[in-house]
Amino acid sequence: MFRRSWRHAAAATAAVLALTSVTACSDDPSDAENRAGAMENYAVGTQFKATEPVSFSILYNNHPNYPLKNDWLFWSELKSRTNVSLEKVAVPLSDYNQKRSLLIGAGDAPLLIPKTYPPDVHAYVSSGAILPVSDHLDLMPNLKDKIEKWNLQPELDTLRQADGKFYLLPGVHEKPWHEYSLAVRTDILDELNLEVPKTWDDVYTMLKAMKAKYPNIYPFSDRYSQPNPAGNLLNLLAVSHGLEGAGWNFQHVSWNAQAQKFEYTGATEQYKQMLQYLNKLVAEKLLDPESFTQTDDLARQKLANSKSFVISGNAQALVNDYRPDLAATNPKAKITKIPLPVGPAGEINPASRLENGMMISSKARDSKNFVAMMQFVDWLWYSDEGQEFARWGVEGTTFVKDAAGKHSLAKDVDMIGLNPGAPKHLQKDFGFANGVFAYGGKPELVQAFFSPEEQEFQQVMNARTPKSPPPPFPLSDEEREQVSLWETPLKDLVYQATLQFVLGQRDLAQWDAYVAELKSKNMDAYLETVNKAYERYREKHN
């Protein structure tokens, strides 16, 4: 008797368990219970509008230049177009990442978590707090359309985790957008009858000529050396040499297309070449040795006082820093950002077409509005209409279009000084062109607010071949943990040796000894792990 009832109980438990697991597995998004508010026939070109008023919580990165206002036209227009209202958890931009980690760790995260950069995602994947969005792309026709039309699949694959899924909806660009290069005093070029340098060798020739005329100064004194030495300069050189990145964009491994495997960036022949180049600049006193340690302010000071003529920068640094600095000390000075000098890798555009994007809380999956939310995200962040709305606002109110479809701001609306003296501001008074909602898109949209000279720069860069992304090598949790233990000592050694080689404290003849040191710090094991992960992924997905 007892035995039988025990068996019954066991059977019942098993049945219950089986049932639960069945429900748990039926992750089909077409479930009626999570379609509340969703549109039946949502597709590319459809204006998304929830069938009932819905509301989603969102982590809001509060930019001090346009602090959050609840009466922005953005919110009311969004509500009337999509029937969606957003509950903002306002976080100061200064410490956005920290609060994001805290909220996710505490299980208190809002449903939508925008402004997340791809590497930041790894930390959250194993916790299960973030939704694997790649499972739900079917709900996002606009994103799928863009992936196909702009051929974004290889880039998206780099986001995949060990389970083959990705957890981030990235901002996607049709064309890569490269920002940083060298800023050069063009009045000095004119004075010396020099052309704008095209290649790194031209840069050397130019510096040489500057030095000949002004022997008492270092013509090139660089910034961005904190926390890592010459963050930008090393990166520019590395990508021009066909590596994935160095300096402030330090990438441990670079893809070698010929050998079909990953190599350790700091041990490649290309890396040695670029160190040789820098060493030559330092040895001939063309590059200020302090470039690798000084603060940004000091580098700017040298430029402002004509103690140097060349410095790293992007469009903002040019307009916000260098020109005002020079205007105060030397009104005749002219400075411009030159197109990225070409290196052995040829004329490439090294920028990625992905930028920061959005994570979605996995608890969204249990919401009855889940489908509506995915459609909403797809519309606002990935549809042409949504992107135009987020960036330009409302036609007739904040912007106008001419016959050719070119956008321009309405007369009483200003942004980056396009309508000086206009009483209202696109970001501050209307909430458009907001970093939380506007990213990626077609070049026309992305570059809409660029100055003419920056548009010119982008044209030159876009004419170059986009660099193809390296193949994905998603690591498992254990591998990632192991690899991250190796990473810090390796990186420290590379930085240290880079400085020693460049500044001439160590002879480049000792390169092999340096590579041996890298090996003693587990470089080979690191590469093996990465290459194994690459092979594993390739076998599974080809």
């Binding site: 930019h63 602090p67 105060a328 660029f450 100055s451």
Partner: protein
């Protein structure tokens, strides 16, 4: 009475040797005085210079700061950055928050710390060691960021002043200093008060506290400065910018000016928030009010600390 001896020695270093040992010592003493004056003047210069420099920078044009030409006097005098910061209504909202949070949190802290310290100063209290142990334990071990956050959130304190005031209400260091002070008060006073019919609360409120103005003033200053400067708790628990204190506001402003985040648009030339100037303005605006409190509490400040520390 070790302390009295020490104090006497300190005050009598000067005149006594002159009488006892004649001119040579006097000369030596004079040399000492001159050297002392020079050293102290140097200390004053060293500590004052950064301050004056910050004020000068806050009123200078950024170009001069970058060019490294601003020392004691503002160059290219401008109050634009002050205007920029102070014209934002949010700045004033947040400033009001700072004042409100500081006053509330300091009040709570001082009441809690006084009560706890007074209890701990009674040697006959049962479980006194355990109570001290509990307090000291928190100096070395914390629950960690996320557990704290979860606790405060589930207590429903988020987005209220309590999230700032309650979790940090008692600073253990301040508690121990205060306990030491209370222990130094003569027991006879309290016994006499008890004989005259005062209960425990009466003794605390009418006898002990009036005698403890020095230490209380010192503690108020410690707490007020700490709460005034703090931003982290508010950053963690406040989800609306209208609730932030001014520290978070200014921190964010600097982050925006350094331009780490931008959407590819170039800021207007006339709106370029001069980063270097902005930092100085921020420092001036946040430290000035609390600095003004110092002179008034100064005399208590020195005495209070000495009393608590020496006799403990």
């Amino acid at each position: 009475m070790v302390t009295v001896d020490a104090a006497e020695r300190a005050t009598e270093v000067g005149p006594r040797p002159r009488r006892r040992r004649g001119i040579r010592q006097t000369r030596g003493y004079r040399v000492f005085q001159v050297v002392n004056a020079i050293i102290l003047t140097l200390v004053v210069v060293v500590t004052l210079y950064p301050f004056v420099n910050i004020v000068a920078r806050s009123m200078s044009h950024e170009a001069y700061i970058i060019a490294g030409q601003v020392n004691l006097v503002p160059r290219g005098f401008t109050l634009d950055t002050y205007q920029l910061v102070m014209s934002d209504p949010l700045f004033w909202t947040n400033y009001r928050n700072t004042v409100f949070y500081t006053v509330t949190a300091t009040l709570i802290s001082i009441v809690m710390t006084t009560c706890y310290a007074y209890v701990l100063s009674k040697k006959h209290l049962k479980g006194r060691t355990a109570l001290i142990g509990i307090a000291v334990f928190t100096m070395f071990f914390t629950g960690g960021l996320i557990p704290n956050y979860v606790l405060v959130t589930s207590l429903g304190l988020k987005n209220s002043v309590w999230a700032i005031a309650l979790p940090n209400a008692i600073n253990v260091f301040n508690l121990l200093v205060m306990k030491a002070f209370f222990e130094s008060l003569p027991v006879e006073l309290e016994e006499a008060a008890a004989v005259d019919g005062l209960n425990t609360y009466g003794i605390l409120l009418r006898i002990v506290l009036p005698l403890s103005k020095a230490i209380v003033a010192t503690m108020v200053l410690f707490y007020a400065v700490a709460f005034w400067n703090s931003w982290f708790a508010a950053f963690l628990y406040m989800d609306q910018q209208e609730l932030w204190p001014v520290t978070v506001y200014l921190r964010n402003l600097i982050a925006g000016a350094t331009g780490a985040e931008n959407i590819g648009a170039i800021a207007e030339a006339n709106e370029v928030q001069a980063e270097a100037t902005l930092k100085s303005v921020t420092i001036v605006l946040t430290t000035l009010p609390i600095l003004l409190v110092y002179p008034f509490v100064q005399r208590y400040f020195v005495r209070g600390i000495m009393l608590g520390a020496v006799k403990g």
